[in-house]
């Protein structure tokens, strides 16, 4: 047990069975097990294959547009300092992953997974999506590689994310609205798993977050870690030091683990993950770590929103990308080890932060990173002026303008 509490490194998880401490694992039906094992083998081969790495990096540079900039948000910093005590008000920097092709960090992972799909000889792609960003990114890479693509999306999300639904269709993907359950991300994932189990022979499932059965949490993290590797290098080059605090929003947690992972063994760097507190932690929310307990869903053991019988409770957030009742298993482990701190922001706080960034920096963020910005606005005031915060601006807000207008009582 001491090993889990005080590991030599925070970067050598999971173990060979896909466990991050007590979390993670491979809780799937027998039909999927052989395929999961094949995927793990293929991924282990790809990881050490220079040709795979070269193709991944080439596409990230010339197709996605990496590296994404690291940007000092001077006016936001000044704005927050106005209400900070004397000598306080940390510098706020953003990793600009919203500038990626397709407008979010999701594409990093999709490039990696479609290269794996091609290596494995799979000829059909499926995905689940919440806000639609992962669906768009998957439809994009499927078009780029000429593979047919089916995206499962909760019927409620289809309603509130119409622009992304149309984008996916333009890209040639078939969008299937899932009406089961609450008709959001969780139900889309159930339906994608049902498709996969019936089509294991030719289908590759591109999971959008660092969750699901092993090896998905590890491979999604590895593909997204380009965010943290770049940020680390850029920050050292620009300021000569490492950031004092990293901040990222968490639904499943892929943008956060991508930013955090390369810094986990830098003891001076603190980290803060921000869950969606919805209407408030005492009401409907999607904060699995703050309001959930460990359980098993969608192939992994992790913190879940559930009732006293282990039935899954629906999450709520104004952000369709965050209202999932679980979280990636590595975050559950990082919480239990204490390496990363976790907090939450409500719908209202995220909306305020959304508008703050629009007005101070001329950047319209997605509602997901608006939760991170809300947390930044709180903690920056409590940190000294020479401290550096690096937050992940993981998506742009074009897709959210209708939701925001609605929340602000504006008719478009």
């Amino acid at each position: 047990m001491n090993e889990t509490a005080h590991p030599n490194s925070f970067r050598n998880q999971p173990d060979e069975r896909g466990h991050f401490g007590q979390f993670g694992g491979r809780y799937v039906s027998e039909t999927l097990m052989p395929l999961i094992l094949d995927l793990e083998k293929e991924y282990n081969r790809a990881k050490t294959d220079p040709a795979f790495k070269a193709e991944f990096e080439d596409l990230l540079e010339h197709y996605v547009g990496r590296p994404s900039p690291l940007y000092y948000a001077e006016r936001l910093t000044d704005e927050l300092r106005k209400s900070a005590p004397d000598g306080m008000g940390a510098q706020v920097w953003f990793k600009r992953d919203e500038l990626n092709h397709t407008g979010a960090h999701k594409i990093n992972n999709c490039i990696g997974q479609i290269l794996l799909a091609v290596r494995m000889g799979k000829t059909r792609i499926i995905a689940e999506t919440g806000a639609g960003q992962h669906g768009v990114a998957t439809a994009t890479v499927a078009a780029r590689f000429g593979l047919p693509c089916v995206v499962y999306m909760g019927a409620k999300d289809v309603e509130r994310q119409q622009p992304n639904v149309f984008r996916m269709r333009l890209l040639g993907a078939e969008v299937k609205a899932v009406k089961a359950g609450a008709a959001t991300l969780k139900d889309a994932m159930n339906e994608a798993l049902r498709d996969w189990v019936a089509n294991v022979h030719d289908t590759f499932y591109i999971i959008g977050t660092a969750a699901g059965p092993h090896p998905y949490p590890a491979l999604v993290r590895d593909f997204q870690s380009v965010i943290g590797r770049e940020a680390r290098e850029q920050m050292l080059a620009r300021t000569g030091k490492l950031p004092d605090l990293l901040v990222a929003a968490i639904g499943g947690g892929s943008n956060a683990i991508g930013l955090f992972h390369p810094f986990l063994d830098d003891p001076s760097v603190k980290m803060l993950g921000v869950e969606a507190a919805g209407y408030g932690l005492d009401k409907d929310h999607a904060a699995s770590l703050a309001g959930g307990s460990p359980g098993i869903l969608h192939g992994n053991k992790t913190y879940l929103l559930q009732d006293d019988d282990g039935q899954i409770v629906e999450g709520h957030s104004i952000s369709a990308g965050l209202d999932y009742p679980g979280i990636g298993p590595e975050h559950s482990w990082l919480k239990e080890t204490g390496r990363v701190d976790y907090t939450s922001a409500t719908d209202k706080e995220a909306l305020d932060a959304f508008q703050l960034l629009c007005r101070t920096e001329g950047i319209i963020p997605a509602l997901e990173p608006s939760h991170a910005i809300a947390a930044v606005a709180k903690v920056a005031r409590e940190m000294p002026r020479d401290a550096i915060i690096c937050a992940n601006l993981c998506g742009r807000g074009d897709k959210d303008i209708f939701t925001v207008a609605d929340a602000l009582g504006v008719e478009l």
Binding site: R17, G25, R26, Y27, V28, S29, E30, T31, L32, M33, P34, L35, A180, G181, K186, N190, L193, R194, V197, A198, N199, V200, H201, G295, I296, L297, H298, G299, K301, L304, Q306, D308, D309, G310, Q311, I312
Partner: protein, 263 residues
Amino acid sequence: MSRFDAAFGKPHPALVCFVTAGDGPTDAVLDALVEGGADVIELGMPFTDPMADGPGIQLANLRALGKGTKTADVFRIAADFRARHPEVPLVLMGYANPMIHRGADWFAEQCAKAGVDGVICVDTPPEEDAELGPFLRDAGVATIRLATPTTDAARLPQVLETATGFLYYVSVAGITGLQQAATASIDEAVSRLKAGTDLPVAVGFGVRTPEQAGAIAKVADGVVVGSALVELVGKHGDDAPAHVRELTTALAEAVHAARKENA
């Protein structure tokens, strides 16, 4: 002799029937299954996210949960069934989270107390057996494993290592209640499985009619029927037991007549 040994030791193949706990008048439906000739009962534990199930059983899960069915109700139904039918094997089938939520040791103890003979946990493969399996087996409850068309020869020994009670062959790669595999492929698969184990092999997924069940019973030790029965419960509600008895009787006649080699 265990109830499984007795059920699969009869001079004919076994009919295994699945219904969801808390959906419809479950106690009366279970009695109807036994009266119709079911040899083994599988009782589904409702779950909010039944990922391996097709539309029929998904809806049954939602109906059961919508009526407020709790884990305590499932064990109450099981214990009452055991009191009414001391000889008929009873299996709980469901997903990991409700089973481990209060601790696997608690769950195993409740199963033993309620007279449950075995458990099928759909999303706990042999790789994660430690989560639940040892607790059940220590409590004298069988851990019934699934084998599928994707379980190859290299993997089969690992599946069999922690399999007790009987082996459930899922005849199609897919979800419950939809397509059905060709009998020839089932014959071949069952032979392959039986070469590796002395456990009885029951075959299910997509079996809906007495004709299909009878054909599979020619090559297997048991035939599992679920969605067709669950859909009758959904359609007829409180009046379901008579309809369930009628279909079960026809299924049992076909399955029991298929082969009488042990006689």
